[in-house]
């Protein structure tokens, strides 16, 4: 009995943790006072406390599944409830933890915004959707929260909606995500058709329906249901499409760099903990549904995305855009890792990435924030996000500089950082997987290594340009006016820096196998090859350090020579592989052309038809009108005028004049005589 109560309590606590930010959202929207910073922070902090409690209770124990009957359609009962396993409690802590830090940071960062209470409300909604997504126990519920995440990100990206680019970016993010949502929905429908349930536990749990369904020849059989085996692949692809949109994988990645139009704190939240993680989370949650075909597709899409995004990040000049492409690249790593079956490595990287990417964004935000202050104070106007205009900020903003350095080291995967453990684990797995496969698959690990090296180059290019060298836009003597951000912001940077080190995740700085987090998800199914475990990190780090040194030579010693800017490779990278142009050409233009065509069709054929019918009617009616006026009316009128003429004629005889009467008489008599004479 006691056990049952515990289960119930835990489900209620999880529910409370998810609902607190929603409560804050509603409360802040309804309150007239404005503000709401304290309330939002309090509710999300409480969420974090509850999540930590759940984490301590449930980590590495049996999953807790609590559900109640939701509604009935026909004879089919739908359930809603809470499913807590290692994955969801980890995500809960991550989401609420990052959210708390972003909330603290935003108090300072967004201080002077006139619509600040709306900001807090949206953040609450965002956290609620994400927490709800992590604890939901059925695909239908996940879908609902999935949509809510998309919607609240739309609100936040377009927070400064009076800015045209921001509202455009919000729309782009929303539309791109809708494409993915369509996939997700398709997947749900296929799963429901096959299994008549959407419950995660009974579908994907131990001995779940997916596991027990079998493939017999061309048929995919589950119980009495069966359908062609292709539908399994389609379902997998559909779910993957959903994840692709949320996690910004090629070809649905273009919304993410544009989403940088929102406030930096929001970018940090979207990139680190919530939105983009949702895609990887979904793949992890429903992992058994993917068949080998789709897993291979994931590998290629992930690897391609990672490489492409890294190559684009090399030449971008907007500080946030570089970080955005870095996120896409890292998500590519995660998706590829799941594709090769390195499930735990992927989740591990998702978690470490959340912290160091959050730190990168918040440090960048700190730089932008201080430069904005400088601009406002001195009436100096320049693009505060353009790294070409920055430089020499190291001495003035040590917290931001060191925070950025630690996070970058983690992103590159230098030793002693969390990234070293998670990223290298993915690469080791990739090599082990490649060794077991043949043909083109052998190339794949090397692509990832190359991507990893590119990462080292672009992120240190950013650091060198922003913090080292000499200031390019602001005069050296004015530079003293710039200081590190206020304590609320720097304290967040310090906390996050701590989470970027190996200590939080592992006791041993060089071996991911001893990490508690990695061990929490032991379902890797790749044959281990021990030589890779020391060789790969060595190659990686050696290459990275060489490239960092090269970056140092180019951007600090040689003051960033522009020799590269003439090559076509530079242009391809700088223009983001022309994806926006291609999409513009392929989809927007063609849709525009199609609509122009239909418009013309409408104007000429449909309108023409209508108009010609109208003209015809007009002609017929004018004929009828003419007929009516001249023939019908003519008959009536001529009858009338005939009688009038006759009347007038006879009236003449009644003139009242005697002589006329006599004349008449005479004429009548004469005619009588003439007639009688003639006859």
């Amino acid at each position: 009995m006691g056990g049952l109560n515990l289960t119930e309590n835990i489900a209620l606590i999880a529910l409370a943790a998810a609902l607190l930010p929603l409560f804050s959202f509603v409360f802040i929207l309804l309150s007239k006072k404005g503000g709401g910073a304290n309330f939002a922070l309090a509710s999300v902090s409480l969420s974090l406390v509850l999540s930590l409690y759940l984490f301590s209770q449930l980590w590495n124990t049996a999953p807790v599944h609590q559900q109640f009957s939701w509604f009935l359609i026909g004879t089919v009962q739908f359930y809603a409830g809470v499913l807590l396993n290692n994955l969801s409690v980890l995500m809960m802590v991550m989401v609420s933890g990052i959210s708390v830090l972003v909330h603290i940071y935003s108090r300072e960062y967004m201080k002077n915004d006139p619509n600040i209470s709306r900001y807090w409300a949206y953040l609450g909604l965002f956290c609620f959707s994400m927490l709800g997504l992590t604890i939901s126990d059925s695909l239908l519920l996940i879908y609902i929260f999935w949509e809510l995440v998309g919607f609240s990100s739309y609100l936040l990206i377009g927070f400064w909606y009076s800015k045209h680019t921001a509202s455009q970016a919000a729309k782009k993010a929303f539309i791109m995500n809708r494409i993915g949502d369509l996939g997700f929905l398709t997947g749900i429908l296929i799963i429901y058709t096959q299994f008549q349930t959407l419950d995660l536990h009974s579908l994907f749990g131990d001995g779940g329906l997916i596991g027990t369904s079998s493939i017999d020849g061309d048929l995919w059989i589950s119980g009495s249901q069966q359908m062609p085996v292709i539908w399994l692949s389609i379902a997998g692809f559909a779910f993957f499409l959903g994840a692709m949109a949320k996690s910004a994988q090629f070809p649905l990645h273009t919304w993410l760099p544009d989403a940088m139009e929102g406030p930096t704190s929001v970018s940090s939240l979207i990139h680190a903990a919530t939105m983009v993680a949702a895609g990887v989370f979904l793949i992890a949650r429903i992992y058994p549904v993917f068949d080998p075909l789709i897993l291979d597709l994931m590998v290629w899409i992930g690897a391609f995305t990672a490489f492409m995004a890294a190559s684009i990040a090399l030449t971008q000049n907007d500080i946030k855009r570089i970080l955005a492409y870095s996120t896409i690249s890292q998500l590519g790593f995660m998706v590829m890792a799941i594709g090769i079956g390195a499930y735990s490595e992927s989740i591990f990287h998702l978690t470490t990435h959340a912290f160091f990417k959050c730190l990168l964004f918040l440090a960048a935000g700190s730089v932008i924030h201080q430069l904005h202050h400088y601009c406002e104070k001195n009436g100096h106007d320049f693009d505060c996000q353009d790294i070409r205009l920055m430089g020499g900020l190291r001495k003035r903003m040590p917290f931001a500089f060191w925070g950025m350095c630690i996070a970058s080291a983690a992103l590159v995967g230098l030793p002693l950082t969390s990234g070293f453990l998670s990223k290298d684990s993915i690469l080791i797995r990739a090599f082990e997987w490649g060794a077991a496969r043949e043909g083109v698959f052998v190339v794949l690990p090397w692509v990832m290594v190359l991507t990893s090296w590119l990462t080292a180059f672009y992120i240190f290019r950013l650091i060198f340009k922003v913090f080292l060298g000499e200031s390019r836009e602001i005069k050296m003597d004015r530079l003293v006016q710039i200081n590190d951000s206020p304590a609320q912001m720097t304290s967040v940077l310090v906390i996050l820096s701590f989470f970027c080190t190996f200590i939080v995740f592992d006791s041993n700085p060089v071996s991911f196998e001893s990490s508690w987090l990695w061990n929490g998800f032991q379902i890797s199914m790749i044959k281990e090859i021990s030589i890779f475990h020391w060789l790969i990190p060595l190659i990686l780090n050696f290459g990275s350090i060489v490239l960092i040194f090269v970056a140092y030579r180019i951007y600090v010693r040689d003051k960033g020579s522009n020799k590269m800017e003439v090559s076509w490779l530079y242009h391809v990278s700088n223009r983001e592989w022309y994806f926006n142009e291609i999409y513009n050409f392929m989809f927007i233009r063609s849709v525009e052309k199609l609509s122009l065509l239909t418009y013309r069709f409408d104007r000429t054929v449909i309108d023409g038809l209508v108009l010609s019918v109208a003209a015809l009617t007009k002609i017929i009616s004018s004929i009828a009108d003419w007929f009516d006026r001249n023939i019908i009316d003519g008959l009536v009128n001529s009858a009338g005028s005939l009688s009038r003429y006759i009347g007038r004629f006879f009236r003449n005889f009644q003139s009242g004049r005697l002589q006329n009467y006599l004349t008449t008489m005479l004429l009548l008599m004469l005619s009588f005589f003439i007639l009688s004479y003639l006859i």
């Binding site: 009242g656 005697l658 002589q659 009467y661 006599l662």
Partner: protein
């Protein structure tokens, strides 16, 4: 001897002249004169046909009667014209058109 046709021709001319005067004159007196012409045309015929009458003098008798009656008629007609003039302040027959509908 003068042939009868000449008499008839003259009387026809007289009659027509009278008739024309009756139909066209714009003065009631002149209309009356036209009537007298027509009566005299008839009287002339009586006298001319009386020449061929077996009972001699019949035509002349009728002519005398007719002249007397015509004189009486003229008296009555003049009285009427006088009254018309009193009533309409005109003896133009075209102005006395109150007979019309």
């Amino acid at each position: 001897m003068i042939p009868i046709a000449h008499f008839m021709l003259i009387s026809a001319c007289l009659f027509c002249t009278g008739l024309y005067a009756v139909l066209t004159r714009r003065n009631a007196i002149q209309v009356l004169i036209g009537i007298e012409f027509m009566i005299n045309a008839a009287v002339l015929n009586f006298v001319a046909f009386g020449r061929y009458d077996k009972i001699s003098g019949g035509g002349q008798m009728f002519a005398l009667f007719a002249i007397v009656l015509a004189a009486a008629g003229v008296a009555v007609a003049l009285a009427i014209i006088l009254n018309v003039y009193k009533y309409f302040k005109s003896i133009d027959p075209t102005k006395t058109n109150t007979l019309k509908d």
